[in-house]
């Protein structure tokens, strides 16, 4: 029972990451109809917003300490951060410690800006082009973005810890009457889950309670006719793209403490997020979110020893297996709309 609860928690947490990435992807892929292979790169850039902010906060001046020696036997050059010298060691340290949450604010304008530039400068010309061309150009872009990040940050993962206040884990077990330490869950992952729920809710509300969503959907189905109705669809597409980039970026910002960011983390998630979006059904935001959680939970269960011992290697293939089964039983995924990218 406790193992079960634990895996549900895990699944929800994993699922929230999948759902968040898939949400951003589906805004572009499911709604605008652009196969965006650069979406993973946006996620990665989000994570590197965290890294960058923490680097910026850690900018330091150097002081030579002749009493100590460095590895070559020369006097040691010590580094002191400006932040600490400006705000005093305690406040300074606290600011540095909170760099990841602060990066949320830092990243929103950056991501929206990147989204705008990407859409206006590149994607705009590809709405009417075949999907294959979209794949090629966005894949090229993804590589370029990745390599730029790699050039500046290297290939190695960069540890980006959460604020100290969130280290450790919350003991659900004692709350539910189990033994202590049986059902624990890290605070930061709980934060991530809540954050994901918040973003998902906000995006839904935006698209549900305004006509924006309907217009964009209509624009994707038939740009020309929407233009005939006096609507400037280009502008809305740009906004949608910015929104999607921001969602992807925020997913990345908050993910940084969970796994140290590296330049190819986007590619690692890319295929999976496409699977999630398609299993959810093209063009359906609730579908993408539901599929994210479903696959997250199933993946967690598949990694349980009891199940692995029954079917060896099941955790290696579960996502794909489920995807196949769902797509065969439900032609358009969980909640897909008819006619969206079916040809």
């Amino acid at each position: 029972m406790d193992a079960f609860i634990l895996q549900i928690l895990n699944g929800l947490d994993k699922g929230s990451a999948y759902a968040l990435i898939a949400l951003g992807l589906t805004l572009i892929f499911g709604t605008l109809g652009v196969v965006n292979f650069a979406h993973g790169a946006l996620f990665m850039i989000g994570a590197f917003c965290s890294v960058t902010l923490s680097k910026l906060l850690n900018l330091s001046y150097e002081v030579v300490d002749p009493t100590k020696k460095d590895f070559l036997g020369r006097p040691l050059v010590e580094k002191h951060t400006y932040i600490e010298s400006w705000f005093g060691p305690e406040t300074g340290a606290a600011i540095i410690d909170w760099s990841v949450p602060l990066a949320i604010l830092f990243s929103i304008p950056i991501m929206i800006g990147i989204g705008f530039v990407m859409e206006r400068g590149l994607i705009k010309h590809f709405y009417k082009r075949p999907h294959a061309d979209q794949i090629l150009v966005t894949f090229g872009l993804a590589i370029v973005l990745q390599e730029i990040v790699k050039y500046f940050y290297g290939a190695n993962p960069i540890p980006t810890p959460a604020p100290a206040a969130f280290t450790g884990s919350f003991d659900f077990g004692t709350m539910l009457g189990f033994d202590p330490n049986t059902v624990i869950y890290p605070y930061w992952r709980l934060v991530y889950f809540s954050f994901a729920a918040l973003i998902i809710g906000a995006v839904f509300a935006f698209l549900q309670f305004t006509t924006f969503g309907m217009v964009v959907r209509a624009g994707m189905a038939d740009r020309e006719t929407v233009g005939l109705l006096g609507i400037n669809i280009d502008k809305r597409f740009t906004i949608m793209f910015g929104l999607a980039a921001a969602v992807a970026g925020l997913a990345g910002v908050m993910y940084a403490p969970i796994n140290s960011p590296n330049y190819h983390m986007g590619m690692d998630f890319l295929v999976l997020s496409f699977v999630v979006v398609v299993v959810g059904g093209m063009g359906s935001l609730p579908g993408a979110v539901a599929a994210g959680f479903l696959l997250g939970i199933l993946e967690s269960f598949a990694s349980m020893n009891e199940i692995k011992s029954l079917i060896p290697g099941i955790d290696q293939i579960i996502i794909y297996l489920v995807a196949i089964i769902i797509l065969l039983t439900r032609p358009r995924g969980l909640m897909g709309r008819k006619g969206v990218m079916e040809d």
Binding site: A132, D133, E147, E342
Partner: protein, 399 residues
């Protein structure tokens, strides 16, 4: 000629000449010159060009004609390789049975995967094929290690039975792949002045098979079957109401292209008897998609060009390091030399991905029809230059 019209026959002839003379064409720079770095005329890379060419030609039969975008074609390549290596391990080092088996096995795989995946179209189809390939890859890497040798890849050993051959040669090493005794790796070297040309048996076998594959694809493109496949792409609804069932056509195309992939895999293993799981990863499937689009999907020669383009970058650009750069620019004054090297540095060696990414974008932005369109534009420009009459602007059907 050979049941082809004049234009196609010319194209085939052109490809044949290119393939035959590749050792010369790809080695334009004299040995030891600064530009020798850009020579690609060595057996391994030439083999890769034609093998990936076969892979892409096959992929294009499915994608270019029917529009079904498979994102899992690498699975067939991988399966083909494994089959071939197993043949080398169990039967003999002759490449013929290995290649045949690899085509059969990948064909069977394609029947199964195609049968299931083709129940859906569009992106749903793509994801189904992707899912199958990723499952194959993940399993090959882990659970199926007894068959695939997992991470390392399936290799030959001295203990393999090789019923019709020998486990080990007289001097105690693993025998090499051959075609009835003609060793794949044997290379005839021709020294011409500063040039060294290499004529490799394996390459010519691959090139010959590639020509066959190309010829077959030409015939398929021009055949009634090819027309049906284009009809599938164009309007399945109309097809059904015309009394044609699209499913067997798409399945046939899928299996044919799967067998092409298997053939490529088998050849790869024949040139270098190792089969690694990465050959089945989505990135490998993505690569053939990129090759095809880059060259020009739906055109006959495009995929081959695309394959050559990507493999060239992978193998040539990745090997240019700062040392080489300094060698090239050593004629410049020191400060300038460092500056130029500094500028070029991010794009070569470990930065070859960056260059490739940029080129992908440039090609697709400026040449919507891929490299083939680039060629056509050049040809058109040349023609215009010659005869300055108003060219008939009729768009000619795709190559």
């Amino acid at each position: 000629m050979l049941g082809l019209n004049k234009k196609d026959a010319t194209l085939l002839l052109l490809v044949a000449i290119l393939a035959l003379c590749a050792p010369f064409i790809l080695n334009p720079f004299p040995e030891g010159s600064a530009l020798a770095q850009f020579n690609a005329g060595y057996p391994d890379l030439m083999q890769r060009f034609v093998i990936f060419g076969i892979f892409a030609i096959g992929f294009n039969i499915l994608f270019g004609l029917t529009g079904y975008l498979s994102f899992g074609h690498a699975a067939f390549l991988g399966v083909g390789s494994y089959s071939a290596v197993w043949m080398f391990k169990l039967l003999s080092m002759n490449v013929i049975p290995a290649i045949i088996l690899s085509m059969i096995v990948s064909g069977l795989f394609a029947v199964v995967i195609g049968f299931v995946s083709l129940r859906r179209s569009g992106i749903y189809f793509s994801i189904l094929t992707l899912a199958f390939a990723q499952m194959s890859f993940n399993l090959a890497y882990s659970v199926l290690t007894p068959i695939t040798n997992g991470e390392t890849g399936l290799q030959l050993t001295l203990n393999d039975p090789r019923i019709l051959g020998e486990s080990a040669t007289a001097d105690g090493s693993i025998p090499v792949t051959n075609l009835f005794g003609l060793e794949m790796r044997s290379t005839f070297q021709m020294d011409v002045g500063a040039w060294l040309f290499q004529f490799n048996v394996g390459y010519y076998l691959c090139a010959f098979i590639m020509l066959l594959a190309f010829y077959l694809s030409l015939r398929i493109f021009r055949s009634p079957f090819g027309m049906m496949l284009r009809a599938v792409k164009s309007n399945q609804q109309r097809m059904r109401y015309t009394g044609l069932n699209p499913r067997p056509y798409t399945l046939a195309a899928f299996v044919i292209s799967g067998m092409y992939a298997g053939l490529a895999g088998g050849l790869m293993a024949s040139m270098d008897p190792l089969a690694g799981a990465e050959r089945m990863q989505w990135t490998a499937s993505g690569e053939v998609v990129l090759m095809t689009i880059l060259g020009g999907a739906g055109t006959l020669i495009g995929p081959v060009l695309g394959a050559g383009f990507i493999k060239y970058f992978e193998n040539i650009f990745s090997k240019i390091n700062d040392n080489v750069l300094h060698g090239w620019f050593s004629f410049m004054p020191d400060g300038l030399e460092d500056f130029v090297v500094g500028i070029v540095h991010p794009f070569i060696g470990k930065g070859w991905h960056l260059t490739l990414g940029i080129l992908f974008m440039l090609v697709v932005i400026f040449l919507p029809g891929g490299l083939v369109e680039g060629g056509q534009r050049i040809a058109r420009a040349l023609r215009k230059d010659k005869s300055d009459d108003k060219s008939n602007a009729k768009s000619n059907p795709a190559e």
